[in-house]
Symmetry: C2
Subunit: 392 residues, 2 copies
């Protein structure tokens, strides 16, 4: 079968120490410290075999994620941008939907609580949580201590077929009533679930009639805007300088857009919310050292108490948090990671079924053969929201 594979050279930076879960020459939790000179190729690979608890999926659609781009993108020294868990060579791709074509004998369908059958349309969690470590047994699969990641450390879905543990699969059956192309909308369940985990599970959501402010109009920020409007946000504001992304954010439900490079963020939030501010602020820019003051000054100057600040974008920079503001305004700051557990995938699918249409996020569809070119193009392009691969 055809597949998009990423290879790179194991060249640890000076001072890098092999972590206790790293495997020399093969796997690391600190990708950008180790991998050099990535190459993305269209390769011919064997069709995967399945184990008794697995299913084989014929991939129909798979989105390109920023992290796919960052695994292929290098700094001046040739090291990859992506800082996390990686094992190369690997087939990329983790935002996918497809049709089950083979079922292991112990592969259970959570929709029916019976063994999976050929033909079931599914999407799949990207996080391969073990189910056996302390966080997994406590109900926190996003914090699995023995995690593998599809399309990062084990083969992903930029391919005709993929085998995955059945426990990670969620049926898309219900979407048939609402969408003509269930695989297109199904490929958006994973990124939507990252936003849902951030604002609903970790952030505690909002009450209908409350306001929300989202910093950053990338796929996660835009998905969050749609989710929060679905949850009844009275006013949802997205802060984003890029015009295409701003337009898409409006299309997806944002009531107001702030251009933080041209407008005063604090004053605009005050204006649009009649000085009330927001119940929930989502940091989805990856620039916490830049936007933390905007967020906490807005909380300080607006009337709302009880605001929640959710940090979903990953960044190493410290945030200069003023505890006094969080005391006087009864506020809190919460870290969000992952998309598994807590009913998130099935809730997202059900919300989509009830009309939460995320498909406008897909701004272009391409073929598998075009992926290497687009992984390069996307290193500078900010016009697109989500480019998605259709596999015939």
């Amino acid at each position: 079968m055809k597949a998009i594979e990423l290879s790179a050279e194991w060249h640890p930076k000076q001072g890098f120490k092999l972590g206790n879960k790293d495997i020399k020459g093969r796997l690391t939790y600190l990708g950008s410290q180790v991998w050099k000179n990535p190459r993305v190729t269209l390769s011919e690979k064997d069709k995967p075999q399945i184990k008794p608890h697995e299913v084989l999926i014929e991939v129909k659609q798979c989105g390109i994620c920023g992290s796919d781009v960052h695994m292929a993108q290098t700094d001046d020294e040739g090291y990859i941008y992506y800082p996390g868990l990686t094992a190369f060579p690997v087939i990329l791709g983790h935002e996918f939907a497809g049709r089950i074509t083979e079922c292991g004998e112990r592969a259970i369908n959570k929709r029916t609580n019976k063994p999976f059958e050929v033909g079931e349309p599914v999407t799949v969690e990207e996080m391969v949580w073990c189910g056996e470590c302390r966080p997994c047994c406590d109900g926190y699969p996003n914090h699995c201590e023995r995690l593998q990641e599809i399309g990062f450390s084990i083969d992903g879905a930029y391919a005709k077929y993929i085998s995955v543990p059945a426990k990670l699969c969620w049926s898309l059956n219900r979407l048939k009533h609402t969408y003509s192309d269930i695989y297109k909308i199904g490929s958006l369940v994973e990124p939507t679930s990252v936003a849902y985990n951030a604002v609903i599970e970790r952030g505690g959501g909002i009450k209908p009639g409350e306001n929300a402010v989202i910093l950053g109009g990338g796929p996660i920020g835009i998905a969050a805007a749609k989710i929060l409007k679905t949850a009844g946000a009275a006013i949802c504001i997205v802060s984003e300088p890029e015009e295409n992304r701003s337009n898409l954010a409006k299309k997806m439900g944002a009531d107001y857009i702030i251009n933080p490079e041209k407008e005063n963020f604090v004053e605009k939030v005050k204006e649009y919310t009649d000085n009330e501010g927001a119940a929930l602020y989502l940091e989805a820019t990856g620039l916490p050292h830049v936007v933390t003051d905007d967020i906490q000054n807005t909380i300080w100057e607006c009337k709302a108490v009880n605001s929640t600040v959710v940090i979903v974008a990953r960044a190493e920079q410290r945030m200069p948090v003023c505890g006094e503001y969080f005391q006087v305004r009864r506020a809190k700051l919460i870290g969000a990671q992952g998309h598994s557990g807590h009913g998130t995938f099935p809730n997202v699918i059900n919300a989509m079924s009830a009309g939460m249409d995320m498909t406008p996020m897909i701004t272009k569809e391409i073929s598998l053969e075009e992926v290497p070119n687009y992984l390069e193009l996307l290193q500078s392009d900010k016009q697109h929201c989500k480019i998605s691969i259709k596999i015939p």
Copy 2:
């Protein structure tokens, strides 16, 4: 009647602007920017008059709070240390218990839902929340927008009598079964409630068997240790360099003490908790720029997910928060302020009645006449935990 009164001169610093709730020459929300040359005197004052919704209380015992000391303490230019809401001259004192001697006709006792009667032993919230602004009507009296504070902006309890709104009073009747001196333990309800609001109401408490780490062994930190042990903390660690405070923390239930000036905080928490870390961290030092890294490095290196960091000590310094740590460890950071609402005062009284004895926190009892001397002594002394005034 005899009372301890603080006067000071209204001398705004250069650049100070009168806030929209400030009253020139009389009241400000930014005490240290305005008040100069404080004088503490034992004065002869009129016995207060009561309004229909108020009661008159004969004060029996009143603790000295750090903020009382900071209102009397000055910087090099002669400005007071205390930065908050103040209106001078004022009778100091807000951690008190006493006996009702006069009742307004509309003064309701929450214990009976009937009018207060002479003789009822009570303690009183320090925060005079209005009950009419948006946060009050939403159920967040600690964030009242029209707040007055007993012993700061209106007359306090370093006096023979005080008049207060009945809605701020909580009966100490129930403590009679457990304590011979209900006014002594009753005078500790207010500071204990500040700690309770921080770790239980705002921090969400702990589950029995979880661990807690408290940074700072002042009265709030020590009260928090006792509360968290009462809530079933398996291991409660207090970080505190002063020997007297450490000993008291142990007496009040702390299982381990860390001396952060001599020991490695992160390594000691790991050692004492078998690398698990804590469900709850309380910042009660007022030095967030110093201890934030200790807290988040501990969260990062220990196994526990879901840790909550509660900020109760006031400080202007920024905290260098690393969002990544809060994401990977599913952690959150919460600001805590006040002691009113949410069942806090009655829960504290009931917990005391059931055996949560805070009286060892009182390390010395003095007379009203001795207060001016002790307000000066306490500017340098760190030997004592709580000095308390007995009024015969």
